[in-house]
Amino acid sequence: MKFEIYHQLGHNGTWNIDSIKNENTGEGIIISPRSMNKKNTEKIEESLRKKAIFDPLLLNPHQVNTKMATYDFYPNDVMPYGFETKQFSQYSSIIANKCIKFQDQNDFRYFVIPTRYYNDMPPVSTLTRILNEHFIDPFLTAIENLGSHKGVIIQLILNSNMIKNDEYASDLLNWITGIEGIDGVYLITELSPRDKQIGDVDFLYSLLNFVNALSQNELEVILGYLNTEALLLSIANPSIITIGSYENTRNFNSNNFIYDNEKTGQKGPTPRLYIPRLLDWIEHPYIDLMNKTDPDYIRSAAHNEYLDQVLKPGYKWHFTKPEPYKHFFIEGYKQLREISIVEDNERYCEICNIIDSATREYSQLKEAGFELGVAGSYLPKWSTAAHLFAKKQGWRK
């Protein structure tokens, strides 16, 4: 199945929107109230808003930042004494009605039913009971009362232990696929601790199987907060894959939602540039050096105005500057788009070729003298996960 590419909006979401409009780097956006207030959400031009997915973001009801506070459905606004877990059930219908009303008024692509996040592994029966009581049942009722026939997506945020535990994952899948009246899942996963790239082969393989099981059940699967592993995960046949700018939109970290640390001006990471053929973001001092020693190397596989800007002598690298991200939107999108037009076994083979090619590329760079930190050390793990998954699908003997 051909998948769509959406932008996970975070801080400076206008970069993403501009990129979609000007460079055609995506089919839609995922909006989060954490980074876009109500007024700005409503101001998004209609054509884009109708295709947008709205993430109500109720995963941590204690944490409502100033932008989120502009919406009227957060527990602090609805519950007279602020959020209290024990009281939440009494207010869940009010919250659901307000949230669904907002989603309906803005005519987003789907109705999204929010979720809570658990960093441990509560018994599945407990987890599902809470999610049913607090979100799924009241939201489905609110949607039904509205009489709309628009698709309904449930959001799920799962930690890596939940995904890697076969029994737990099976119980979750039995529950999800048994929910009447939904059309898909907006799935976010957290691997903690993790490096910038995912090197946990068990997690990747388990996640591929999880996504595939949902897809086999003819559910839309929207994968949020993805880094370049989006390419690998595409073999499990999701419907929508996301790309993002800042790392906190490409790597789900629950701490970001426990402590409101999305503030501009804080000390940021070393700026990086995405190199498609390496399947990774490379720190800018290496980029400068590559450009100096072999000016054609980076340009040989990517061409865009933002790349030209960052490769200009004297470019002032800073993680808050848009060019590296806009370059990624173009090149990352291009890479995913090429993959999306092939399916199943063919997609798997193509992705294996890309991974193998990246591995060779790192070797050549090493021979040329570049010691690039992790230097693609996660790539064999990606290949392994892909091969094992392919074997299970009968694509590989």
């Binding site: 599902t128 099976s170 039995n174 529950w175 696929t177 048994g178 099981a213 059940n217 559910l219």
Partner: protein, 293 residues
């Protein structure tokens, strides 16, 4: 009309019911078992009916038998008007410990005794489709049958099935599904893995799909149970169900291979391996049927 007392029946069933039978014209005994006798008779209002007389309490057993099970079935049947289920006309629970059910009489044979009627893949698939259509009637009421087996499927002259014994069917919204209900009354030979493992949270409409899957493959195997240790080894059918060991080789033949995807999905070990929706199930059955048309 006066009726000669059938002393034999009363002795057989230990149910004193002659006073009730006296009210009907020539009741013909068609079944005895448990605490119940069933007669075919003519009812002045409903025509030919099945008259079921049973005992839910006696002086020897003052605590009684499971009348709840009967009442549950009556409740469900009263909400259904379909060729796939017998119509319930009346239910009376008497203070003397007896109950009387008047139900549509179905002129039929249990599938367990007429499997040979369904010979070709197309005939078998047609029956499975009819059963799926019938089951969907209770699924839409958020009810799971939970005990679908050949004994509970009556085949009429026109080969259409009637599904009976909704005694352990249960609303999915009910919070009181007990362990006893889950494991006890359902037939262990046709149970889904989640039933045999007493996995209450996993029991839903897809549990009935598994039962349907066993019946499908059993019909294709000319009556042999697909989990029978005689063909797949192991110690028992229920254990083989829990071990996911069934005779999938039946689909190695070119003739039956088109049915493999349907059967494999119905017999998916986990509910999420089965069909998420009724529409998906019917689509797959129709696809299979097209192969044989």
């Amino acid at each position: 009309m006066p009726r000669a007392k059938t002393k034999k029946v009363l002795e057989l069933d230990e149910v004193e019911c002659s006073d009730i039978l006296d009210c009907y014209i020539n009741p013909e005994l068609i079944y005895t078992g448990g605490q119940r006798v069933v007669y075919k008779t003519n009812h002045p209002e409903y025509g030919v009916v099945a008259l079921k007389i049973g005992q839910y309490r006696s002086s020897e057993n003052p605590d009684g038998w499971d009348i709840e099970r009967i009442e549950r079935e009556i409740d469900i049947l009263r909400g259904i008007d379909s060729q796939y289920y017998p119509k319930n006309f009346s239910f009376e629970k008497r203070t003397d410990g007896r109950y009387i059910i008047i139900e549509e009489f179905i002129d039929s044979t249990p599938l367990s005794r007429c499997m040979a009627l369904f010979q070709t893949p197309l005939e078998i698939l047609e029956l499975i489709k009819n059963l799926a259509v019938g089951l969907n009637i209770v699924w839409e009421m958020d009810i799971v049958h939970r005990d679908l087996k050949p004994d509970n499927i009556l085949i009429k002259q026109n080969r259409k099935p009637t599904i009976i014994d909704l005694g352990i069917a249960r609303s999915l919204n009910s919070a009181s599904i007990t362990e006893t209900l889950l494991g006890g009354p359902c037939s262990r030979l046709y149970a889904a893995p989640e039933q045999l493992k007493y996995d209450k949270k996993s029991i839903d409409k897809r549990t009935d799909q598994y039962n349907l899957g066993i019946i499908l493959v059993q019909l294709l195997l000319k009556g042999t149970h697909p989990f029978d240790p005689k063909i797949v080894g192991g110690i028992s059918i229920p254990q083989n169900i829990v071990d996911n060991k069934w005779y999938a080789q039946v689909f190695d033949s070119v003739d039956l291979s088109p049915i493999r995807p349907l059967a494999s999905q119905l017999l998916g070990f986990q509910p999420y391996h089965r069909f998420r929706t009724y529409q998906m199930l019917i689509k797959k059955i129709d696809c299979c049927m097209e192969e044989y048309q």
